[in-house]
Amino acid sequence: MNNFDDIPGTYLFDKDRCHEGYHFNMFCKSLTEPKNRDDFKANEEGYLDNWQLTQSQRQSVLDRDWLGMIKAGGNIYYTSKIAATDGHSFQYIAALMSGTTENEYRKMMVDGGRSIEGNRSLSEKG
């Protein structure tokens, strides 16, 4: 059996996550329309009421808890549309998800990125 769960810090967007996150990601997708972005920005809580989000999905959006969104079934290409609405880049949310600041993360990338060594599997990581 393939065991994607053995890969550290990785949340494969598989059938279970799609099933859990469908409505959440469709909310994110709605932000590709300017009018919807305006509505969301004007009243986040009200806008979210239009979508069948779980409590943890909803809270993760309001808190801009980017890792929380992923853990609650968000897909990065969809949650990034919230970041775009906020005026943030993929790099900004990647930094926050991996528990660092944008500056430190940027420096890590310029220095060659996060090493694969020690990051292949949980067992290897020990």
Partner: protein
């Protein structure tokens, strides 16, 4: 008779498009990357293909989780750049070629590829950034483009073997086309990158460089590579690399490697570019 004369693979990082759209390509962060694109642009201008088949993935722009096609082909007259949350990219409209695209769709379905045919769709950075990379910033794109989108967002994407075989079937379809077109095939996405989770920022240059080398010379190793190896070694979003196999499958077994370029980083990503030509051209 139409024929595929060459293949090009490249990353399609959104930040590369943004750097071009915002005129930042000369900045120290970006210059080494864009310098590496110059030879590819010169090569493409000289090749002057009649048509591009562009294999890419949509990132929740034209499609969503409502309907997730494994392979989709755009048969429209034109494709507008998508709004991905920050407005559409200021790049030319992409002109299709309905006659060729429908021929391709028909041929692939009769060859047992279960294509989704799309009459109306936008195209996101997955398609427009590669065009910007190889064409720069022209008033209009140099030739018609057939969008061929592959699902790599929802697990499972098609297997590497299926992607390679799709390339083979594309080659057959091109050969069956009556008009005398010189076709370029682009495979896009990758290289190693992970955009989400605590492991975001993962770069595996060793994996990437082997991938670049083996794609020209011994693609079979990559055809057999299981999904989990991409995710583990090249990052969760590095699985986009399966799309490069469609390009490779569309070329002959023996090819000439024309150019290779590799740079880290572009935003969260390792970028690669590879140009292969069929020997017969």
């Amino acid at each position: 008779m139409a024929r595929i004369v060459a293949g090009l693979a490249t990353s399609h990082v959104p930040a590369i498009g943004i750097a071009m759209d915002q005129g930042k390509t000369g900045e120290p962060y970006w210059k080494p990357l864009f310098d590496g694109y110059d030879p590819a642009r010169k090569w493409l201008a000289k090749l002057d293909p009649d048509l591009i088949v562009l294999v890419y993935n949509d990132h929740g722009s034209a499609f969503s989780l409502e309907v997730i096609p494994t392979f989709a082909i755009g048969v429209a007259e034109k494709f507008l750049p998508a709004d991905e949350g920050w407005g559409p990219r200021p790049v030319p409209v992409v002109n299709g070629d309905p006659k060729f695209a429908w021929h391709l769709a028909e041929s692939l379905i009769l060859d047992e590829f279960d294509m989704t045919i799309v009459n109306d769709m936008t195209v996101d950075h997955g398609l427009t950034v590669p065009l910007s990379i190889v064409c720069g910033q022209p008033e209009k794109w140099p030739c018609p483009v057939i969008p061929l989108s592959v699902n790599v967002v929802q697990y499972p994407p098609p297997t590497g073997k299926r992607c390679f075989d799709l390339g083979r079937a594309i080659r057959k379809a091109v050969k069956r086309y009556d008009d005398d077109l010189r076709v370029l095939i682009l495979g896009t996405g990758g290289m190693s990158h992970q955009l989400h989770g605590e492991r975001a920022g993962l770069i595996n240059s060793e994996f990437d460089k082997s991938f670049l080398d083996d794609l020209s010379r011994q693609p079979q190793r990559l055809v057999d590579l299981p999904h989990i190896e991409y995710v583990r070694e090249a990052g969760a979003e590095g699985i986009e690399l399966v799309m490069w196999l469609v390009m490779r499958g569309a070329l002959d077994d023996d090819v000439t490697e024309i150019y290779q370029h590799y740079h880290v980083p572009a935003s969260n990503t390792a970028t690669g570019l590879l140009i292969l030509e069929n020997l017969t051209e």
